[in-house]
Symmetry: C2
Subunit: 363 residues, 2 copies
């Protein structure tokens, strides 16, 4: 580590280890090639066009976005974008239709209302927009609730001008258990998915694209029969939650927040200047009351967070940091932490290698 | 409500009801005048110089900040600033000393290391910086742990060039219970505080300033013997947590997030486009698994949050929103939500009245 440089930075600061990012991308590129899956990473994790460009260079065939702002920013580096979010609201639709015409746009939706709004906007813009029908395979957030509803919506897409039916999509964000416990859940998901695919096929609406995937289920995606595309987000950086479910080892965490120790008066703890406004107060997948851990000392946990204070629990270590010392924290949820920063500081071979502005924040 | 305007905005959007802000400020100004307390609101809630200026116009005698960035921004409207945060780190100190020379600067600290760093920086800048010794009265976050430590640190301040001993400060952020249950905790706090004040006085270090106060304890500040100044932050906007402990009625909530209903497929719920990246995922003071409630229907709770999705629980209402409908959500914690937005949209008499950029975010 280039200590001089790390000592001079304003803290808290968001750091990305580019060597680890390269390795993380290579790994998923190899996996998807091996299993004949398309790779459409979700850019909500980094919200940074430079990292989307890296993903495309590593083999991604397009990107996923959740917001129009992300679509606008990613359109500067990518011409194949999936908006995995219901395109509801005039402002959302107007800006979506104003994306550069060469962008192949696909939108996920789950309602007749969203369909009609999108069709009207596409017609008005003289644009063809692809549609994936969103399924609920158990997360209970968005998505049609039955194969019959999927058929009805897919059929409505095929008969709507300006729209093109491209398949189905789902997000299994509720599968957040250790890899060893994933088997049953993945099999159940496969069975539910097959019912949808078969019912659609029987209706003459066989989906060309079947899009799914998350970071916790990433390496078992090939077990989901019929899946054609995956959309992992966090995997580029990884985080404490990804490690906790065995989606990666600790050494593959590429994102951390540099922080300064500002107080050590309370016995058994040290206070750092990375609080909920730098790390994000997100509970862990497999524990509660812990919000992160030190990159170089994973046994030292962040046990409390207020806005500008993080409390390091020193009960399991003899290490006693001093006021002014600097540490790097891996937060539970990288996406939520990145979203709190203006820029990502880049490390290459442990040396400062520039910054990327996080330009796709907001809406 | 000016429906046309609210229908046209990009959602999610942060809204502030200026009429309610005025009333909230008037109320605390009257309370502090009545009880002879100085009022130094914490600007971390709004991070917006225009709102600091409103607070000063309403009678605040100065402002409180947690970060150097907040100090830099608030210095454009205020010449009496308390940095209620240990000033540790070269960058922090360099920028602090570069604040306009007419700004009367006071800093809270709890360690010899922070003291030495600040003294050295003040000397180098040819500046006199006030110091409040930070006490831990039970929160166990920062602050000296005994009256003897307070005396030692206060004495060190008086003998450090560039520094001026101005008193003591504490933050009782752990007192987050309903008003009716606050009595014992406030009395215990008073007793502990008195021990500090008496021990300091015996050592010839009687504190001129005794600074405390939070929004949950705001209206009981006069019960704390010896308190000279309070620093409530949230009170200008209020939030669901403030209501939950009885610090204000629901009708005094001035901050909300405008959101659009984007999906209603899952029975008993509606999904809005305000998720953890708009509302902040902060547990309630008095309940768990709830992250906010609708401004106009407080019985409709936000029961789940992912990054761009909020789940409205419709189990306690007959109301069934449609895709495209708009709602306003009061989050649990206003400070954390405001920090996720670029600007605050202002309402006056329910009509759009401009925007303020939230310029003091980041560090």
């Amino acid at each position: 580590m280039n200590v001089d440089w790390l000592d001079m930075m304003t803290t808290p600061a968001a750091l990305v280890d580019l060597d680890r990012v390269d390795a993380n991308l290579k790994r998923v590129a190899m996996y998807t090639r091996q299993h004949g899956l398309r790779w459409r990473p979700h850019t909500k994790t980094h919200k940074t066009p430079e990292f989307a460009a890296l993903q495309l260079a590593a083999g991604a065939q397009g990107v996923t976005v959740a917001t129009v702002r992300e679509a606008e920013v990613m359109a500067t580096v990518c011409d194949d974008i999936l908006l995995a979010y219901p395109p509801v609201g005039d402002d959302r639709l107007t800006r979506l239709m104003a994306l550069p015409p060469h962008v192949r746009l696909t939108v996920a939706l789950d309602s007749g209302e969203a369909l009609e709004m999108l069709s009207r906007a596409a017609r008005r813009a003289g644009r063809t927009v692809g549609v994936l029908v969103e399924l609920d395979l158990g997360m209970r957030r968005v998505g049609v609730q039955s194969p019959e509803d999927a058929v009805a919506l897919a059929r409505a897409v095929t008969s709507s001008s300006g729209l093109e039916y491209r398949g189905i999509t789902f997000y299994a964000g509720h599968l957040r258990m250790p890899q060893a416990e994933l088997g049953d859940a993945m099999r159940e998901q496969s069975v539910r998915l097959a019912t949808y695919v078969d019912t659609l096929a029987d209706a003459g609406l066989r989906p060309k694209t079947v899009s799914g995937g998350s970071t916790p289920t990433l390496w078992r995606s090939h077990e989901v029969a019929g899946l054609t595309e995956i959309r992992p987000g966090i995997n580029i950086f990884n985080d404490r939650n990804a490690v906790s479910v065995g989606a990666c080892p600790w050494e593959e965490c590429a994102y951390s927040v540099l922080a300064t120790v500002v107080s050590t008066t309370v016995p058994g703890q040290a206070v750092i200047d990375a609080g909920s406004k730098a790390l994000a107060k997100e509970e862990g997948f497999t524990d509660t009351g812990v919000y992160g851990a030190l990159l170089d000392r994973p046994d030292v946990l962040v046990r409390g967070l207020s806005e500008e204070h993080g409390l390091l629990d020193l009960s399991s270590t003899d290490w006693r940091p001093r006021v002014g010392d600097r540490v790097r924290v891996v937060p539970n949820h990288a996406c939520a932490s990145v979203n709190l920063h203006d820029r990502l500081h880049l490390l290459r071979q442990s040396t400062w290698a520039g910054t990327h502005a996080i330009t796709a924040r907001g809406w």
